[in-house]
């Protein structure tokens, strides 16, 4: 193997294989973790990363192979045992307890000696941990209704509150913005110095290169390479992951020409949630929404889609004033909303890819006597499977059995299929790999070219900057400004999002609408 830190490895995975029905998720892979290292694991969607992790924490049992902890072979039968062995994980899909308070969510799994709950301590410590992450949450509120990012923060707090030797993070940053990511990395760094071994999975390569000591790449369930960070380049890593070269990302073709206004929002407010939001989306334009976790961007999206209608304000769509009170009504207007939370809100997990993709338009697939035309449905699903490179044996597979990224693609397909006039994307590339991300960006561009208006809510700042014609920045439910592409720099947007002074832009020409 590779040159390694002088210490003995904590955890070794030898020749692990795992098969689900038709899918060989892992095929004879090996991985070694040393104390005090951050080990990044890269791979395309469905490469088997999450599966490996679930084997490490006892959720899945390997078909073959061996796990060695401190030189001793171990069987990890369940999560409880993994925790006792000092292994904890932040899973790709946050799994919170909606009825428990945030504080309890963090401490419920802790094994303690007394059978009693010390409420005062739990609240204090939860606040302290979230404080270190710089996440502001009322830890006594039930976790129900937290946005995905907030859930992710809770998951992170839960994992680091455990005194562990091996900490696994499966895409912890997927819905965090740059600010929270910075805080998280500070914590990771502290843990690394304490000698914790950290396995870090992300599709954001810049993050990987910022934090990892070593990088392992999987492809199609097989081990491809393990290298020191100094020996890897982003291009090299991508080549390992994909098996070929990939061109540029964020290839924004500037809006051909700004069409007429498609959606015009003035003074949109919802009591206790957001207030006084005003912006325009033109045909063929991509309007980015930036902000920190909890900036209420999602809530604006939900209001426009009629899930949680706003209390006051004007919405003009295609020149006609309208109130949107239900998703169904929004869909009739030609609005589509791709939720950030695919598992809870976006997909019917036990059903097939086909059933999920055709769901919003199902009535269109009804033929004679209202009977569904299964063939037509399947054709649609096949088309998107090809176009978005959804990795699945066939389109009848249950969506719940797909890898996270592939689920995200199915959800995108579901809404693309409705051929909307206005597409609201909430964290559209959450958890999808570089290749697919490029593909999604390509699709967004193409849709814009066709004259579709797009609102893109994203915590991935480079993505927002790269894709948007203009960027609206929100903070705590208020609109901090709208920046033209030319003026939107990372520093200025971050400053607006955090609420600091906005540095001068190279061409100090504020956009007409924002900055109220």
């Amino acid at each position: 193997m590779l040159a390694s830190p002088d210490k003995a490895p904590v955890l070794e995975m030898h020749h692990i294989s795992k098969r689900f029905d038709a899918t060989q998720a892992l095929d004879d892979v090996s991985l070694t973790l040393y104390p005090g290292e951050v080990h990044a694991l890269l791979g395309e969607n469905g490469a088997g990363k999450s599966t490996l992790i679930k084997i490490m924490t006892g959720i899945h049992q390997p078909d073959a192979g061996e796990i060695v902890l401190d030189g001793q072979p171990v069987q990890i039968a369940n999560a409880m045992q993994a925790q006792r062995l000092g292994i904890a994980a932040i899973y790709q899909e946050p799994m919170i307890f909606p009825d428990l308070s945030v504080a309890e969510n963090i401490f419920i799994g802790h094994a303690e000696r007394t059978p009693f709950v010390n409420w005062g301590r739990i609240v204090r410590e939860a606040e302290a941990i979230l404080g270190r992450l710089d996440v502001k949450l009322d830890v006594r509120m039930p976790a129900r209704g937290l946005t995905l990012a907030a859930q992710q923060a809770v998951e992170i707090a839960k994992a680091i509150s455990l005194q562990v030797r091996v900490l696994i993070m499966d895409e912890p940053t997927a819905s965090l913005s740059a600010h929270e990511v910075e805080q998280l990395f500070r914590l990771v760094d502290a843990l690394r110095r304490q000698g914790v071994a950290i396995l870090f999975i992300s599709h954001r390569l810049d993050e990987v290169f910022a934090i990892a000591d070593r990088v392992t790449v999987f492809r199609d369930g097989r081990w491809i390479s393990t290298r020191l960070r100094s020996e890897v380049t982003p291009e090299g890593a991508i080549r390992d992951m994909v098996g070929r070269e990939i061109g540029d990302f964020f290839a924004k073709t500037p809006a051909a020409q700004r069409g007429e206004s498609l959606l015009s929002v003035r003074g949109l407010s919802k009591r206790g949630v957001f207030s006084d939001i005003s912006f325009d989306v033109h045909r063929g334009e991509v309007l980015g929404f930036a902000g920190l976790v909890g900036a209420r961007r999602t809530d604006v999206g939900l209001a426009l889609f009629g899930i949680e209608p706003a209390d006051s304000g004007e919405i003009v769509f295609e020149g006609r004033p309208c109130t949107i009170r239900s998703p169904e009504q929004a869909m009739r207007l030609g609005i589509a909303y791709v939720s950030e939370d695919r598992r809870q809100l976006g997909l019917s997990l036990p059903q097939s890819i086909t059933a999920n993709i055709t769901l919003p338009l199902l009535r269109r697939y009804a033929a004679a006597f209202g009977l569904l035309d299964f063939k037509a449905e399947e054709q649609t699903a096949e088309r998107y499977k090809q176009q978005l490179a959804i990795r699945a044996p066939n389109v009848q597979v249950e969506v719940g059995k797909l890898s996270g990224g592939n689920q995200q693609k199915v959800m995108l397909a579901k809404w693309l299929n409705t051929a909307p006039k206005l597409l609201i994307l909430d964290e559209p590339t959450r958890g999808i790999d570089v290749g697919a991300k490029a593909e999604v960006h390509h699709i967004i561009n193409a849709l814009a070219q066709q004259g579709i208006g797009i609102i893109m809510i994203s915590s991935d700042l480079p993505e927002v900057l790269g894709m948007s014609d203009r960027v609206l920045v929100m903070r705590e439910g208020r609109q901090m400004g709208v920046f033209d592409r030319a003026q939107a720099t990372q520093e200025r947007i971050m400053a607006a999002a955090i609420g600091g002074a906005i540095p001068d832009s190279p061409a100090p020409r504020a956009d007409g609408e924002g900055m109220a």
């Binding site: 049992q61 073959a64 192979g65 929004a330 809100l345 019917s348 997990l349 199902l362 569904l372």
Partner: protein, 338 residues
């Protein structure tokens, strides 16, 4: 094709096997079992329950429950009887009874779909309340003496040896299977049962679907109640009391998850066949009363437990195998030693 999750398909195979055993047992144990009148009886004695079980399947797949069905059956029967006793023409009485059923369903549906109350609470109140309404109508009386043609509907064969209710059941079974598996509405029922929010985010009118289901449930329960009145030829305040548990049992044994989102009508149809034939077989073997319900209870548990245990055993064994023959070094050494 709309594919079933593989676990479910396995479930139906199991049910089929159980059914085969039950039938085989009956055939060998009783010379009367295969007689055509007995086979008709197998269905006829529970026909109203199994009609309602079809709608209940939809409701449970949708993630809800309707405990009030038996009370609605009773109420509809009482409405028919009361009106008949008061001199109203029978067809009109039946129409009114069906309307009452529809209204009961709409009432349940309103609180569940639009106010958002848990269906268990609402229909539990309905279970008590609609039964109460039936009691108000008949008090301590028993009303019968229906016109001959009406009684004949329930008691005399209509086509071949089959009475009307049995024909209604088969027509409804086919219709229900088509609606559930082949129409958009059926797909919505599943999606909402899986995750109501996902359905709402996809623009499905969740409230409307739920409302329709409960209205259908009320209507069909009322129809079943009327058929029951025709079969029994007399109605009392407690007609159909306690049927809800039998109906729900049939649906659950059919593999429908109580949490919603999964299950098929094939499964429910098989489970109906199992329960009815088992009942009949036991009756023919002079096993009645609590023992009968006890055996069905045990079957209910075993039919889930045994496949679970077998599955776990198999999983355990397949995990052992690679450990002894896999590429890990220890077993190789063992081979050398031996």
């Amino acid at each position: 094709m709309f594919h079933l999750p593989s676990a479910l398909r396995r479930w139906e195979t199991l049910l089929l096997a159980i059914l085969a055993v039950v039938v085989l047992f009956n055939v060998t144990r009783s010379p009367f079992y295969l007689r055509i009148d007995n086979l008709v009886n197998v269905f006829e004695l529970s026909i109203e329950k199994i009609i309602v079980a079809l709608v209940m399947t939809f409701i449970i797949i949708n993630g809800e429950i309707d405990l009030s069905v038996a009370s609605v059956m009773g109420l509809a029967a009482c409405v028919v009887a009361r009106l008949h006793a008061d001199g109203v023409a029978m067809p009109l009485a039946v129409l009114v009874a069906l309307t009452v059923g529809l209204l009961c369903g709409a009432f349940n549906g309103f609180w569940i779909a639009y106010v958002g109350l848990p269906s268990l609470a609402v229909t539990l109140a309905g279970l008590i309340g609609y039964r109460g309404a039936a009691r108000i109508l008949l008090e301590d009386k028993s009303i019968g003496n229906f016109p001959e043609w009406f009684n004949a509907l329930g008691q005399r064969p209509l086509v071949g040896p089959f009475p009307l209710a049995l024909i209604v059941f088969f027509v409804m079974l086919i219709a229900a299977a088509i609606i559930l598996q082949r129409t958009a509405f059926g797909r919505y029922v599943y999606v909402i049962g899986n995750n109501k929010e996902v359905a709402r985010y996809a623009g499905i009118r969740v409230k409307q679907v739920k409302m329709r289901l409960f209205m259908a449930s009320g209507l069909i329960a009322a129809l079943a109640g009327v058929l029951l009145a025709a079969r029994l030829g007399a109605v009392r305040g407690n007609t159909a009391e306690g049927f809800e548990l039998d109906i729900i049992t049939m649906v659950l044994l059919g593999g429908v998850s109580i949490f919603g989102g999964s299950g098929t009508l094939t499964g429910v149809a098989l489970s109906i066949l199992i329960i009815l034939n088992l009942r009949n077989g036991m009756s023919l073997a002079n096993i009645t009363g609590n023992t009968q319900t006890g055996v069905i209870g045990a079957l209910l548990i075993l039919s889930v437990l045994v496949p679970n245990l077998v599955g776990r055993l198999r999983a355990l064994r397949s995990r052992m195998r690679p450990a002894t023959t896999g590429p890990t070094p220890q077993p190789a050494q063992e081979v050398e030693i031996s």
